[in-house]
Structures are given as C-alpha cells and as structure tokens.
Symmetry: C4
C-alpha cells in the first residue's frame, strides 16, 4: 500500500476517473459522457454515404481526436488501478479496448466496414457513468420493481414465445408458401410481429381462415399486453408503499446509510458507505481527501 500512498497523483487520478464524489470526478464524467455521445454521432454520420462523401476529412480527423482521447483514458485507467489485469479483462475493460482500437486497426488493414460500426459499442460505456449516477439519483425504486418482477416477466415472455410457435405453425399450414408464410420460422416471426401489435405488414394473411386466425392472434396480443403492465404496476406500487413505510419508521430515520461512488483501487468494488475506511470486499484502505 506504501507505493500508492507515495504516488499521490495516482490516487488522485483514480479518484477522478473511477469516482464521482469530487468536483473533478464529476467534471471528468461529464466530459467523458459528451465525448462518448459525440463519438457515437460520428459513427452514425459516417454510415450515411452522402455525409461521408462530403465531410470525409472532417469526420476522419474528429475520429482520430476521439480515438486518441480514448487511448489516453484507457492507459490512465490501467495505470491508476492496482490490478490492471483484472480491469483489462472486466466487462468494461473489454468495452473500453474495443471502442478504442478500430481506428488503429483500420490503419493496418484498411477501413473495414463492420469494424467501423463496432465503435457503436462505445455507447455501452455510457452505462458505467449512469451506474455512478444511480447513487446520486433516485431511480432505485423502479429498478427494484423491475428486479422483483423479472422472474414473472420471464415466465410471461416464455409463454408468449410458445404461443407464437404454436400459432405460427398453424398459420404456416393455413396460409402456405404462396402467401408469404414460406416456412415455420418465418411464420413464427410473423406471429411475434402480430402478437406484439407491431404489425409490419410485409407478410399478411390472404385467405379468409388465415385472416380469422390472425384476428384471434391480434386480440390475444392486445389482451395479454395487460399482463406485464399489471405485474410491474403492482410491484412498483408495493415498492413505493414499503419505501414510504420505511421512511416513517423512526429507527430508519436515525440511521440513514449514505452510499457514495467511491471505487476501491484494489478490487474496483463500489457502493461504499460514507463512513467506511476500508473496502467492504477486499479490506484495502479507501482514500478520503
């Protein structure tokens, strides 16, 4: 640990990059968020042929600037964390790498199409910043309601898929290949399009019997949309209630646990309490200013 207490700038940098409690940390997050969004915009614009032809140089230079910024950030992240290997092979480590290297690779093997779009993965990085925001914001309620109803919604979606396969097969038999229902997977696809009330209209039933079954599928889909809504609604109501009850309970009022966005330099664990001096996961000392 002595190495880290000596390298004060490293600790400082760690706090800026990985945490959002200090003004510098917040500024870093905001700048990073803007850079990511700008880079996504670049990827999108580049894919539009007419824009790419007219502003190719501008897009290219902007892309290089962002790539270099991301490279610096990536290196800084590796330097300030104690176990770089763990970071590099973590989910966000891989995302960070993948969103940085495409431009370098294009230098060597030329502009590969699919490679360029890979940069859209950068969007995933937004979630890291938003994750930190969670401790500052207050949308925990909603997330709890979704978590509580996750199992039930899975069961529901599984049932929807089974129904789609059965009805899709029936439609395949009724309509047949001449009306666009050329095989069972396509029929099932149509059935999902219809059950979810999306209704593209690229494949539509032509026979009276097919239209009758389709009507049944649509009304079914219209009716069962009530199920996930009812689940989330009920869970959310009960979450709201228990939160309010907790707030009214005197014990809780005297012991509010304040979680901050501190991030352990050793194991990258977050959600530390404000009074915590040591990481609750690896026991490594946390650095307060």
């Amino acid at each position: 640990m002595s190495k880290y207490t000596r390298n004060k700038w490293r600790v400082k940098l760690h706090e800026i990059i990985y945490e959002a409690d200090t003004p510098e940390g917040k500024l870093f997050d905001v700048v990073l968020l803007i850079t990511i969004l700008a880079s996504i915009l670049l990827v999108m614009l580049e894919s539009v042929q007419s824009i790419d032809e007219n502003f190719h140089n501008f897009l290219n230079i902007s892309e290089w600037i962002i790539t270099i910024l991301f490279t610096i950030e990536y290196i800084a992240r590796i330097l300030t964390v104690r176990r770089p290997i763990k970071y590099i092979f973590s989910f966000y480590g891989i995302v960070d790498l993948l969103s940085t290297i495409p431009k370098y690779i294009s230098l060597i093997i030329g502009g590969v199409h699919a490679l360029a779009a890979l940069r859209a993965l950068r969007l995933l990085r937004v979630f890291r910043i938003l994750k930190l925001a969670r401790y500052l914001g207050a949308s925990n309620n909603l997330l709890n309601a979704l978590k509580a109803s996750r199992a039930k919604i899975s069961v529901f979606l599984f049932a929807v898929i089974i129904v789609a396969i059965i009805l899709g097969t029936i439609m395949y038999l009724v309509e047949g290949e001449e009306n666009g229902f050329s095989n069972i997977p396509k029929s099932v696809y149509w059935c999902i399009v219809t059950l979810t009330t999306v209704g593209f209209g690229d494949i539509t039933p032509q026979t009276p019997l097919g239209q009758f079954i389709a009507s049944f599928v649509m009304i079914l889909g219209y009716g069962i949309i009530a199920v996930p809504t009812g689940i989330v609604s009920a869970e959310y109501t009960s979450q709201n209630k228990s939160v309010k009850e907790k707030e009214n309970t005197p014990q809780n009022k005297t012991m509010p646990v304040q979680l901050n966005s501190q991030c352990c330099v050793n194991c990258l664990a977050v959600k530390h309490q404000d009074e915590a001096k040591y990481c609750h996961k690896c026991g490594c000392k946390l650095h307060h200013e």
Copy 2:
C-alpha cells in the same frame, strides 16, 4: 394393489416419469424438455426449403431418433400407469400419440406436408412439464389474478368484437370494394387490425371520410387498451395484498401445506400434500421412497 407393490420397478418408473420430486424424476423432466425443444427445432428447420435440401439426411435421422425416444416414453407411460385407457384418451395422452406417429405414417403413405407440421403439437407437451414446475416455482399469484379477471376480460373482448363488427360495416359502406374493403368480414378484419393497434397496412382507408373514421377507431383502440391492463393490474395488486396478509396471519404460519408433484398411479391426480399417504381423489395408496 399387490401387483404394484410386487412390481417395484414399475412404481419406480412411474415416479420418474410422472413426478418431479426425486432427482431421477427431475433429470427425466429436463431431458424430456430438451428433447421436445430439439424436436420442435427440427420441425422448424425442415420447413425451410434451403436447409431441408442440404441437410435432408441429417434431419431425417435426427427425426427418427426422436420419434423412437418418444415411442419408448409413450409405451413406458402406458405400462406404468394403472389405467392405461384413461391415460390414452386423456388430453396429454392424445398429444403424446399425435407427436409420435407422424414419422411412422410417413413411412406408409409418403411425406405428407401437413402431417409433418403436426409434430409442432409436441410443443403442447412442454406445458405438462411446466405444470409440475408450478408447485416448485411461485407464479401462482399471477395465475390467480388472471383467473379472477378472466370473466371481465371476456366481457371486454366481446365488446371489442361487437365494436369491430359495427365499425367494420361502416367502413365497408364508406370505403367500398375499390379501396380494398371488398366485403364486410374483410372490413371487420381491418377493424380488428386497427383497434388492436397492430396496423398491417395491407388495407388502408383512401377516402377522407374513411381516414376520419379510421382515426376515431385508432384513438378508441388506443384508449380501450387501458381496460384489460387496469383490470389485471387491480386484481394482481389485491392478490398480492391478500397473500401478504395471509403470510402475516399467525394461524397460516403454523400450518404451511406443502404440495408436491406426486402423481397417483391409479387416477393420475396430482397436488398431493407431503404427508398424504393415500390419493385424495381415489383413495389409492401413494408410494413414498
């Protein structure tokens, strides 16, 4: 009963096939589930012409393997149950038979198209396994809410259909055959497509008056989707509440009734209590290990 206590393997096999309380019973269910899903995948792939042409032999052999497995299972089910006739003519008995024989019939009269798709009925068998899972899982709440609101949703859907017929007839008069509304059933079909917010777009109103009425239909459909959602949501909330109240009532806490997945060898009744020694339906002795 003596015949069955002597044939220990039969009782054992019955427990494995029809129940899910022993490790072997659970393993059997998992294997069966995978086999069913694999066979459904086969049916789907076979219907895709390009795949069927390239991998015909592989698909054919796989289908034979699955057919033979299902045949063995079907015979085992008949052997281990006390009243085979009752099983054979039960809903799942017929489904089991129908999902097994298509391949045998195709040997005699050649590959009939519709017959092959009949095998998709195998998917219905999934419900038997899931039915057992119900006692282990906990989605009873949702099912109760759906059951409680079934009558109201039926009334609602009936009203939707009446509205669709009336508005469909009006659209038939307004738009007429030249705009695709060629007869009243087709107009009603269009109306259901629109009311349920599916909106294929294969038939669309062309006259200004028709588009005005269509707007009304759409807003109506958008508004009334609130009804089934409101019903399920309210029922589910009250189900949740009564369950929680029950859990807090002291009498209930001291008398938890444990239902298991045991299945009577005589009458196939399920939902026996853990302490039950005799079937609650026919009085026949249950076999505990």
Copy 3:
C-alpha cells in the same frame, strides 16, 4: 289499468319480451340473441361476392325468415307496451324498426347495396339484452371505474388530438406533398396513426428530418399510452376497494338491495327492487307472478 289486468296474456307477453326474471323471459332473450347473431352472420356472408353467388337462394330465404321473425317481435313489442308511441320513438324502437324494414324496402326498389348493410345495425340490439344481463352479472365495478375516469380520459384524448394536429402540421411542412403528406388533414391522420402506435405504413416519412420527428412522435405515443391505463387502473383499484369496504360494513350486509330486470309496462323503466310493487318512475303497478 283495468284493461291490462284483464288482458292477462298481454301482461305475460310483456314479461317475456321485456324482462328476464322468468324462465320464459330468459329463453326469449337467448333465442333473440341467437337470431340477431345469425342475422349478422347473414349480412356478412352476403357481402362476400363468391358466397353470395353460390348460395344466393339460401341466404335470401334465411333473410326472409329472420325478417319475418323480427317483424313479429316488433309488433309484439308495440302491442304489449302501454305507450307504443314512446317505444317506437325510443332509441331501441328505431333500431328495431331499421333492422326489420330493409328487406321490405328491397322488394319495392330492388336490392340497394347500402340498405343491405344497414341491417348490421341489428348488432346494436345485442346491447339491450346485455343491458339486462348487467343486473344478473357483476361487471358493474368495471363500468363504474370507466364512468369515473370518463372525464379524465376525454381531457387526455383531447390533448392527444391537439398534439396530433400540431405535429401533423409540422410533418406536412417537413415532408411535403412529394412524400405522401399531401395536405394537413392527411398529415394529421398520419400523426394519429403513429401516435396510437398503429403504424399502417401507407404514408411514411422519407427525409431524415421527417424520420427524426417521426421517432419523437412514436416515443411520445409510446409514453403517453401510460396515461389512460394509469387512470383506469387507479380508478378500478379504488372502486374495488370501496366495494370490499361496503361489503364489510354491517349495515350493508343486513340490507342488500336486490334489483331485478322487471320493466314497467307504462314507462319502460327498469332496475326495480325485488320488493317493489309500483314503478319507481311513473307509479304504475308492477306485475309479479
């Protein structure tokens, strides 16, 4: 009143036709319901050209049978009610007449197309029978919830229409006539199609800006569907609660008011209490068997 107490058959007939408390009255309603549904099916089938060509005679004869049945019913209704004029000019009186005469008119001026479809109005008669069912069934809760939230849903739908007009005008300016948005009413129609998530696809934005605004419209529509659902859901929950509270209140338990489907021969008022001897609207004597 003496005239009516003498004409016992008239009173009896009134009870059968207008009420649903006696077995004969229920039988009459069921037969009428089936006849209405059969006549609707006839109207639908007749509009399908291929069916009409092949089974013209059968359809024609069936139509005549139903028309004669409806004529008899219409005359019986006039004879058994004390104030025939009031019935004839009531909503259901007009519907009854309109659903009976088209076939007679077609005799004089030949098969007019629009006239035939007028018979679909017969479906409105279903509501009279269902209205009686309300006192026997139990969907009052839902109707109360809908009534309570009617005003709010109207405000909501009015807001949706204003938003559709504003966004429709913007889309007209952005996309213009060359992309199908040929005038503002059509643009507003497109906007309603999109806001309600129906999405026919007969008119779609082609310019990037138009697609961007369309995305906004869609997400808006996706978000605001929550509003009517939330309203109905909340109203229904509170309706459910107050009903349960009422049921638990001792006074209410001792005084259950039983409403029956009796219909006053004089003023056609319904919803009389079981113990009522005189009509609560006009004071005319009610006839119990």
Copy 4:
C-alpha cells in the same frame, strides 16, 4: 395606479380578456376558443388542393375576418395590460403575434406556403384558455401524477433511446444496405419504429438472423411498455390516496383555499386566492367588481 382606476373600461376589458370569473370573461373565452378552432379548420382545408381550388374566395375572406378579429384582440391585450413589453415578449404574446401576421405578410410578399401553415401555431393559443379552465375543472390530480413521474419517465425514455441505438447498429451490420437498412440513423429509426410497436413496414428485415433479432426487439418493446404505465399508474394511485386523505383531515375541511382565474394587470400572475386584495407576486392591487 391612478391611471388604471380612472380608466374603468380598461380594467373591465382586462378582466374580460385575461380572466374567466365573470360571465363576460367566460363568454369571451368561449368565443375565442371557437374562433381559434375555426381558424385551424381553415388552415387545414386550405392545404387540401381540391377544396382550395373550389372555395378559394370563401377561404380567403374567412381568413381575413379571423385575422382582423385576432388583430383587434392582440391590440386589446396590449392596451389593457400595464406592461405591454412584458406581454409582447412572453410566450403567449409571441404566439399571438405569429398567429396574426401571416396574412398581412402574404399581402406584401405573396402567398408563401410555409408561412400559411405557420398559422397552425394558433392551436397553441388553446392551451391558454385551457389553463384557465384548470382552476374550474379538476384534472390537477392527473397533472400531479405526471409531474411526479416525469423524471422517471425521462430516465426510461433515455434508456429506450440507448437500446434503440445499440440494436439499430446491430441491425445495420446484420441486414446491410441491400435490405433498406442503408445507414445507422435509418437503422435506429427502424428500431424505434419497432420498439414502440408502431411497425410501419417501410423497412423490414429480410435475412433470417435479422428477423430473429427483430423478434427480440419486438418482444423487448412489448415488455418494456409496462414500465411507463406502471410508473404513472402507481403515482396516480398514490396521488388519489393522498387527496382523499387530505379531504378527510378536519383542518383542511375548514380551510378550503379557493383559487380564481384573476390575472394581475401589472405582472400577469394568476392563481390568486378569492380573498386576495393584492397580487401575491408584485403587490399590485387586484380589481374585484
């Protein structure tokens, strides 16, 4: 203030135009509402070529009448308010101006197309009248629920957009330009069309993999529609409850605060209490009749 107490007609006019407590004020609002709706209808009809050709003179004259009425109203608003500058540069002041001048400009530079449609902005003026109606009506509950859930719905919509960008990019890579997914922004547009269950069908996946991912997108969209509905529903239920609790609290029953639609002549502030003698914002005297 002396200037205003002398100019009694000015105070009176202010009350009629800006407030809705007197019969004259209400009449003015109703007339204005009808004029606005009539002018919107004019704008819409004018955009329909066939109507514009046949009734050009009638539409032109009607437009001039409405423009002159709006001009008079605009001048009256400036005259009766104490700080005309503040009104002119307020939101509604600009809307009032913009909805009045297009016809005058068309005199000078000829009928500019886009300019004519600008008049649709008049619809925004409806909100001013409806705003006053709020104090008379009772839809505050719903607005509070929407306000309370605004933050959560924003987070939700932000998440939807991120998901749309990621899935849109994936679809761009999978389907490619030959199937209509010609660039990433268009792919994202398609993804929003699908996620919101609108489903135009102008762009549809053609490859099996694309259809599989599309199915996933649709089921996702079908599932997450539950989230905003659940939020609004829960918020609205709790709003309803707290309102009812307030109504049952004795203190509140003895102190109902009556807000009226009076509007300060000085600062245009509204929502004054019935007993208020001075504006709660600027302290200027309010004029009661």
